[in-house]
Each structure stands twice: as structure tokens, then as C-alpha cells.
């Protein structure tokens, strides 16, 4: 009994220590971000390309099918009430408010987050970060901050692309497949989707972008510098990001609703 209590206490202390270090790490990133954006903007743009442009194909393909399946479900359920014209609205609201940001964040974790973690982790394992330290170059500023900023900037853009392509997928299914009137389809969307709905999606994608990028670079920077350690860190990036995004999604929705 005593041992169990001690184990729980030790776990709590370890968690508190890690969480504190995580917050300090985040503050370090924020402290170096303005100077990196002004003095080394080209490096940040390169990372936006790595995290964003290279994730475009997977985001667009997934967006297309998610939009299509939403329209399928919406049409099949709305048709029970003779409300097929609402197919577009249902798909648009689901995409803009929920699935666009959430699915993009999870895809981002799988494609760009794992790449960030493994890249930084391997740099650590092969002494590249130590070499920078020895060259009096701060690896957090030079390596971690541009990758973090690249992810933060890329995520909302990817979420926007996901939602746009998703709407196109919904259009294909609703209008082209089920012959919903194209005018009603888009007019209902225009009438029912309000700026607040779009803003909700934007807020979420920004928060998820910060969370997903922060978790990815944290795991990479703190990886155990071995092949096994990098593998574990990469897995943790996906799992922790997915859970964090879903928890944050609930919290933001609860606040904004």
C-alpha cells in the first residue's frame, strides 16, 4: 500500500516536472520567434514549405473523401425529411467547424509532425545539435523555432484547403451524384454558414497548429538519442497530438457554443 502511494507520488512529481519543462520550452520558442521571423524569414518559409506544401496532397485527398462521405450521410439522412437541399449546409458546417481543423491536425501530426520529431531527434542522436552548441549557435533558435513556426503557419492554411476541397467533394456527391439542385446547394450554404462558424474553424486550426507543432518539436528535442528513442518519440508525437487535439476541440467548442 505504502509502495503504491509512493509510486503515485513519484509519477505525479515526474509529470509536474515534465509539464513545467514543457511550458518553459514553449516560452523559449515564443521568446526566439519574433527575431527568427524578422531576421531569418527565409528559413521559416522553407519550413512552411516542408510542413505545408509537402502535406498538401494527403490533405487534399483526405479532404475530398471526407467531404464526399459527409454529403453521402447528410443526403441519406436529410432525404427522410425531404430536406435534401440542406446536404450542403450539413457538410459545410461539419467541415468548417469540426472536421476541417480536427482532421487536418491529425493528418498534420502523421505527416509533418512525425517528420519534425524524427528530423530533430536524429539531429540530436548524431550530435548535430551538440555541434551547434559548440559553434555557439543556439539549436533551439536555429533548428527548433523555424520548424515550430513553419508548422504554426502551415496548419491553418492546410485546414482551409481541407475544408475547401471537402466542400468540392460534397458538391460532387450532392449535386453531381444525387442531383441536388446546384443553386439550392450553394445558396443554403451561403445563407446558413455565418462568419462566426468560419471564425470557430480558424481559431481551432490556429490552436491545433500550435499544439501539434509544439508537441512534435518537443518530442524531437527531448528524444532519447538512439534509434529506438527516435522511433518512440515519433509514435508519441502522433498519439499525444491526436488526444490533445480532441480534448482542445471539446474545450474550444464548449467555450464558443
Amino acid at each position: 500500500m505504502h509502495r503504491t502511494a509512493q509510486d503515485i507520488y513519484d509519477s505525479f512529481v515526474e509529470f509536474a516536472r515534465t509539464f513545467g519543462a514543457f511550458q518553459l520550452f514553449f516560452l523559449r520558442l515564443l521568446r526566439h520567434s519574433p527575431s527568427m521571423l524578422t531576421s531569418r524569414f527565409g528559413v521559416v518559409v522553407g519550413q512552411v514549405y516542408n510542413a505545408g506544401a509537402l502535406s498538401l496532397v494527403i490533405v487534399m485527398v483526405c479532404g475530398l473523401f471526407v467531404g464526399a462521405v459527409l454529403a453521402l450521410q447528410a443526403y441519406s439522412n436529410m432525404s427522410r425529411f425531404n430536406a435534401e437541399d440542406w446536404t450542403g449546409v450539413a457538410a459545410a458546417l461539419a467541415l468548417l467547424k469540426e472536421l476541417g481543423p480536427v482532421m487536418t491536425a491529425i493528418l498534420f501530426a502523421g505527416r509533418a509532425g512525425t517528420a519534425l520529431t524524427s528530423e530533430i531527434g536524429l539531429m540530436k542522436a548524431t550530435d548535430q545539435l551538440s555541434a551547434m552548441e559548440m559553434m555557439a549557435v543556439n539549436p533551439v533558435r536555429r533548428v527548433v523555432v523555424p520548424r515550430f513556426l513553419g508548422g504554426v503557419i502551415a496548419m491553418p492554411l492546410l485546414a482551409a484547403v481541407f475544408s475547401a476541397v471537402g466542400l468540392f467533394g460534397a458538391h460532387l456527391v450532392g449535386v453531381e451524384l444525387f442531383q441536388v439542385d446546384v443553386g439550392s446547394f450553394w445558396q443554403q450554404i451561403q445563407l446558413m454558414v455565418e462568419p462566426a462558424d468560419v471564425r470557430e474553424g480558424i481559431y481551432k486550426s490556429i490552436v491545433f497548429g500550435i499544439a501539434a507543432s509544439l508537441i512534435a518539436v518537443w518530442e524531437g528535442y527531448n528524444t532519447v538519442p538512439t534509434a529506438e528513442g527516435v522511433g518512440r518519440a515519433t509514435t508519441r508525437t502522433v498519439v499525444i497530438t491526436a488526444i490533445t487535439v480532441l480534448v482542445f476541440d471539446f474545450m474550444i467548442t464548449a467555450v464558443l457554443i
Binding site: T126, A131, E133, M134, V137
Partner: protein, 270 residues
């Protein structure tokens, strides 16, 4: 900036453990200004750890490390980085930045710390690459280099800022005999011509003998012997003789601590 003492680096009563295993237990050691000092010792005696302690990549549990009279444990990050600009370090595996070409790797410290024009940077980088025989490899990526070539590029990068102190971690491993000869002469020539202080961690007794002014032999967390390579090679100490002449029998066991071979093979132990 310096304190004018003959010793550029002074280590006093250094204690450092990794987990429960002590690496250094009251180590005292001096690195003399302008000399090539070799640090030798059997595997696992903490030679690389010592280099990381000297450059404060690691922090000792006890003891002081003075670099040019400055206790490095008292430095804040910005002062530490200022001090590190005086260091050049060659890592065991080269530690080249894998997303940059050979040229950009060598140019990296110049781009980070100076406002030199591209033309001047190009001139300096090509000069350093020429010194290590890899001017023609400037456009290659690190993945296209052999281990020995990567280490030579890392050497060019370590000396590109003309440091006061050059630290070499196993610089001779993986070099072919021709490269080895050139690099050994380069280390010596740079030291003499530029007044650099060099620290070499190496197992290569022969090469160290040709280049070092002073050698330290580490064992059991302390300095077991020190002196010029000639003094060490003629020393009467059993440990020194075993290491310098590569003898199997002696105080340094070849085998890691283990239970009885016979009992383990016959499965009598747990």
C-alpha cells in the same frame, strides 16, 4: 582576456558520475597554452565525457574547470556562447549538418557569427577545405561522404573561425594512411603557426606520439600518468606499459566484469 597563466585550462578535483557509476573521482589536470595535449586511456574511462565537461556540454557534480582563468560553471548562456566562439571542436562522428552541403557546413559558423560578404566567405571556406584536401567535394552532401571525409570536413568547419582552442575527439579514426599523415601534420602545423591550444582524445598511441607535446593517461577516474609521449613510452608503471604497448595482460582488464565463464556456459548461474 586571458589570465596570462601558462595553463589555458585547469581542472581541479573534478567529480562526475553517470547514474551510480563514477566517471571522474577527484581529477586534476592542466592543459598548457599553445601546446598539443593528448588525453588517452582505455575505453570507457571518460575521455569524451571530459571534453564535454571542458566545453560545459555537461556539468560536473563537484570541482572546478577554469578556462583562461574563468570558472565556466559561473557563466550564463550568453557568456558561455562567447567563450565557445573561442573553441573549435571535432566530434567523433563529424556531426555535420545533414541538410547542408559540405561548403555550407564549413560556412555555417561564418554565416551565423559574422557579416562577411559571400565572396569572402567563399574564399575562407575554400581555403579551409583545401587544407583538408576536400576543396573538390565542396558541392557534395554529407550523405555522399565516407566517414573519413566527413571527419575532414568537420575539421575544416572546426577551424573556420580560427579558434584559440581546438578539441579533437578521436580525429584519426577511419582515416586512410595518406589522410592520416596529412591530418597529423596539419594539427601540428596549425598549432605552431596560429598559436592554437589543441586537445586530442585518441587511442592511436603512435599518431599521438608524433603530434602531442604532453599526454595524460586516464584510468579509474583519475590521471594515472602524464608526461611527454617519450616519457610515457619508457615509463615503468605496469598500467602505462600495458596501454602504450597494447599488452593483453595487466591491470586493465580486457573483459567487462562478468561471472565465471565456466559457470555461465554450464548454466549454473541465474
Amino acid at each position: 582576456m586571458g589570465d596570462g597563466s601558462d595553463n589555458l585550462i585547469e581542472i581541479r578535483n573534478l567529480k562526475y558520475s553517470r547514474g551510480a557509476r563514477p566517471i571522474f573521482d577527484g581529477l586534476d589536470l592542466n592543459i598548457r597554452r599553445g601546446e598539443v595535449t593528448a588525453i588517452m586511456g582505455p575505453s570507457g574511462t571518460g575521455k569524451t565525457t571530459l571534453l564535454r565537461l571542458i566545453t560545459r556540454q555537461l556539468i560536473p557534480q563537484q570541482g572546478t574547470i577554469l578556462v583562461d582563468g574563468i570558472d565556466i560553471s559561473t557563466l550564463n548562456t550568453s557568456h558561455l556562447y562567447q567563450l565557445r566562439r573561442r573553441f573549435g571542436m571535432l566530434f567523433q562522428n563529424g556531426a555535420l549538418l545533414t541538410d547542408l552541403s559540405v561548403f555550407e557546413n564549413v560556412a555555417f559558423p561564418l554565416r551565423e557569427h559574422t557579416n562577411l560578404s559571400d565572396r569572402l566567405i567563399r574564399h575562407i571556406v575554400l581555403t579551409k577545405l583545401h587544407a583538408v584536401g576536400l576543396r573538390g567535394a565542396a558541392g557534395l552532401m554529407p550523405a555522399e561522404l565516407s566517414g573519413g571525409m566527413a571527419r575532414r570536413v568537420a575539421l575544416a568547419r572546426a577551424m573556420v573561425m580560427d579558434p584559440d582552442i581546438l578539441i579533437y575527439d578521436e580525429p584519426f579514426v577511419g582515416l586512410d594512411p595518406i589522410s592520416m599523415g596529412v591530418i597529423v601534420r596539419l594539427v601540428r602545423r596549425m598549432n605552431d603557426a596560429l598559436g592554437i591550444t589543441s586537445i586530442i582524445v585518441s587511442h592511436d598511441v603512435q599518431e599521438v606520439a608524433t603530434v602531442a607535446d604532453c599526454s595524460y593517461l586516464l584510468s579509474d577516474g583519475q590521471v594515472a600518468a602524464s608526461g611527454s609521449p617519450d616519457e610515457l613510452s619508457t615509463a615503468t608503471s605496469v598500467l602505462v606499459r600495458q596501454f602504450m604497448h597494447g599488452m593483453a595482460d595487466g591491470p586493465v582488464a580486457f573483459h567487462y566484469d562478468a561471472p565465471s565463464y565456466e559457470e555461465q556456459l554450464l548454466g549454473r548461474d541465474s
